[in-house]
């Protein structure tokens, strides 16, 4: 069993005080805190070998390029991709999805073609596809969900047809915490020859992800939600597709040769990395992934499962608390409302008690519309949280109820 006090001491921010109170950070779904090793790595890049990658003849550029490519290998191994050619660094999940919506869309999607997403998607996996539909005259279809936030597989099967070109679905809902039946979704799509993009922004940090076992065609995630720096993300794509689709952005490093008459694109993965990428963050992300592996990803998942059960029990025991999103498989995210109290009021008071939660629609307005609510309070946990912190949340909710009743 992992030593929780050791884990907590790895994250310096966790010993910060907020309004003179010990910080209780329960907004990990929005961004995770960084272990010291990630902070040190960023610091080291910037103090010892900051130089533009893939360009210089000089020593520092070589060291930086080497570390950057090593980071790509760390990501590859972490998600078990077949080759580093299939690992593209982007600025985050949003950029990764926009990239595929554009590039795949240019090559494979035309007027009347259909794209399937789900009712649980984050805006980042809705809007890029809507923009594509507007450009190409294609049609967006949505896998329905039930009142508890579980996707309806029969509804999904009915949507698949010969016009479907791609399925883009989240691995886990950021707003409700529900884990989607991604294996079934992929299997069904593949039986019709349709590729699948998996939004792993809320999946990568909560367990072992193996893109080959999952058999997805694209997998995207953000560094900052998996204990890495902000401004770095990953786009995994099956080589078969990456070879066929055009680049999203043009610029330096993504080309082999440029003349005013013709430009020859670089090989994978560089074809998709125009301009100077955020290489310090990529190297920092690799440090975060190594940290997670050293801690043990099964171990992390086990701790988080225990915290989720404990928190669910504690919150349900409070009269007036209603949890949105109940399913057999959940990431450690609890979305809830307190009877008669606006989520914003609750969030403000919890904040004053040093408890960081998120309130609002969580960039998933269609989910809220489907549930007939304006928003929720979301406590998103991760392995460095403790039962004591969950007790403080429960006490905080009691205080909120006292103040507003």
């Amino acid at each position: 069993m992992a030593d929780i006090s050791k884990i907590r001491s790895d994250f310096p921010i966790l010993s910060e005080k907020v309004y003179g109170k010990d910080l209780v950070y329960l907004d990990n779904g929005a961004t995770t805190q960084k272990p010291q090793v990630v902070i040190d790595t960023l610091n080291e890049v910037l103090t010892k070998y900051n130089a533009n990658i893939h360009r210089g003849v000089h020593h520092l550029s070589d060291v930086a390029s080497e570390a950057y490519e090593q980071a790509r290998e760390t990501v590859r191994a972490f998600i078990n991709a077949a080759s580093t050619d299939e690992i593209i660094f982007t600025s985050g999940t949003t950029a990764s999805i926009n990239n595929i919506a554009f590039s795949f869309g240019e090559r494979f999607i035309g007027s009347g073609d259909e794209i399937i997403i789900s009712a649980l998607e984050h805006h980042a996996n809705i809007v890029p596809w809507q923009m594509l539909c507007e450009r190409k005259g294609s049609v967006l279809k949505v896998i329905p969900m039930d009142d508890n936030g579980n996707l309806l597989i029969d509804g999904y099967r009915r949507l698949l047809n010969p016009s479907t070109r791609i399925v883009a679905v989240t691995q886990a809902s950021n707003s409700l915490g529900i884990v989607t039946p991604i294996d079934e979704i992929i299997e069904e799509a593949h039986s019709h020859g349709i590729p699948v993009l998996v939004d792993g922004a809320q999946g990568i940090q909560h367990g072992v992800v193996d893109v080959r076992a999952m058999d997805c065609d694209f997998y995207v995630f953000s560094g900052h939600k998996v204990y890495g720096p902000t401004g770095i993300g990953v786009l995994y794509g099956r080589r078969k597709f990456l070879d066929q689709i055009p680049p999203w952005q043009g610029g330096g490093d993504m080309v082999k040769s440029v003349t005013f008459a013709k430009t020859v694109y670089n090989d994978l993965p560089f074809k998709f990395e125009a301009g100077t990428t955020n290489f310090p963050a990529a190297i920092g992300l690799a440090a975060a992934l190594r940290y997670l592996d050293e801690t043990g990803r099964e171990e992390v998942a086990a701790i988080e499962g225990g915290l989720l059960d404990y928190a669910t029990g504690r919150l349900l025991a409070i009269k007036g608390v209603r949890i949105y999103g109940t399913g057999k498989r959940k990431i450690p995210v609890i979305s809830f409302l307190i009877d008669g109290i606006h989520q914003y009021d609750a969030g403000m008071i919890l904040d004053k008690m040093g408890i960081a939660v998120r309130t609002g629609t969580h960039c998933a307005q269609p989910v809220m519309d489907r549930l007939g609510i304006d928003g929720t309070i979301r406590a998103s946990l991760c392995f460095y949280n403790t039962r004591d912190e969950i007790d403080r949340l429960a006490e905080g909710i009691q205080k909120v109820i006292e103040m507003f009743s």
Partner: protein, 144 residues
């Protein structure tokens, strides 16, 4: 009372409390005293954008002063808008346009609201001033 006199008295009420919980309780009490808005005015036209909670603000101009009524689905927001109304409502468009709302800083509202939250607060102030500018322009046009 002038706008500044009202600001002073609000600042004094809040200065009795060091503890932020108590200040919030005062804010919540203020919210309960908010003049009721005509329910028919709780429509999209009077909804203020940029707040996490819904805020409806309705102005009435009698040719001399503007009176505001408002409502919000969140109680703390009701408290904030009720303070703004206490300060600005019943004053002339010119007075409202020129008002320097220093009480927001003085009672620690601005520092204690994160940028996105205070956007809500600032949106409310902006909306009230915009109404004042509009009524002022209308009056000047009439005088000419």
């Amino acid at each position: 009372m002038t706008i500044n006199e009202i600001q002073e008295s609000i600042a004094e009420e809040f200065s009795q409390f060091d503890d932020w919980m108590q200040r919030y309780e005062l804010l919540i009490d203020q919210g309960r005293e908010l003049p009721a808005i005509n329910p028919e005015k709780k429509v999209k036209d009077y909804l203020i954008e940029g707040c996490q909670s819904k805020v409806w603000l309705y102005p009435e101009f009698d040719g001399k002063v503007i009176r505001f009524t408002a409502d919000s689905d969140a109680i703390i927001t009701r408290g904030i808008v009720s303070l703004l109304i206490r300060v600005l409502s019943g004053h002339t468009p010119k007075e409202i346009m020129e008002a320097d709302l220093y009480f927001i800083d003085k009672i620690g509202l601005r520092q204690n609201l994160s940028p996105t939250r205070s956007n809500g607060l600032l949106s409310m102030v902006k909306q009230m001033k915009l109404y004042a500018i509009a009524y002022d322009a209308r009056e000047s046009a009439r005088e000419e």
